[in-house]
Symmetry: C2
């Protein structure tokens, strides 16, 4: 790669901005709908968010060399528990992502024992997948008559600000 689209720090900041949006979507769900409501037999938002948690930090840890991670959807017992897990992952992601050596983004790796691709493509998969499922959460919110947070609104997770 002779030219640069963005730096590792840019990519991390972009992802964390999107993760802050995902957090706001989780927050927008009423407690009693977060783990139960869905459309068309799909997984509820709380389960989709658990999948996001099961990918992000474990993926980056394995890239850094923390050994093979087994993919598992985190379990959350409540909305508060899920948000606490989310905030813990936000801090862990900052810590572990910064430990990816810059020269490794183009390196091909196998993660979770089965997915092979370049480091950047693995990270993009995680981000694309989060956008995909968060978008589904928007439909659930609309179907519940709840206005979702604006898609273009990013920035810091609200946990520390509120």
């Amino acid at each position: 790669m002779s030219t640069s689209v963005l730096s590792p720090a840019d990519l991390l900041a972009h992802w964390q901005g999107l993760r802050a949006l995902s957090r706001r979507v989780i927050e927008a769900f009423p407690e009693d709908q977060l783990f139960t409501f869905s459309v068309g037999g799909m997984r509820p938002m709380g389960v989709l968010a658990a999948e996001m948690l099961g990918i992000a930090v474990p993926m980056v840890k394995e890239i850094v060399g923390g050994g093979a991670q087994e993919f598992s959807e985190n379990k959350a017992a409540s909305k508060a528990d899920l948000l606490a897990q989310w905030d813990a992952a936000t801090a862990e992601l900052n810590e572990w992502f910064a430990r990816i050596p810059a020269h490794r983004f183009g390196e091909t790796v196998t993660l979770f024992g089965q997915y092979t691709g370049t480091v950047w493509s693995q990270l993009f998969y995680a981000i694309d997948n989060e956008n995909h499922h968060r978008g589904q959460g928007y439909v659930y919110l609309r179907a519940l008559g709840i206005e979702p947070p604006p898609f273009w609104e990013r920035g810091e997770a609200s946990a520390l600000a509120s």
Copy 2:
């Protein structure tokens, strides 16, 4: 930016892989539901796809210097028309994206007369937005009892292969 996450060619290939998936989602809709069916009062998939078309090529053209583009959602009269517009945009995107000088990805630009950010972040917005809305299309398909294409399946748009 001293380090590189991925090259411009990598980013284009990644986007086109996702666009091929979007095309398969459009294809999966019955003609009579593509522009009418929705959940929770949201826009139908055909209208979301028109938004994607209204962003991708016009954005890249404006980045390259084709002058200010006005954002407008393309109109499509039918599924066949929408798919033909999609395929035309696939070719145009390849042509125009290749004309973005490598040093410009970190440059700040204002597009569509109002959105200011680095070139890379503008492109990522377009890709994130496409993932967001395509994910909504998955909910519509499931609500219609139709199995959507696998999210992890990418590759070339099927137009040329089929």
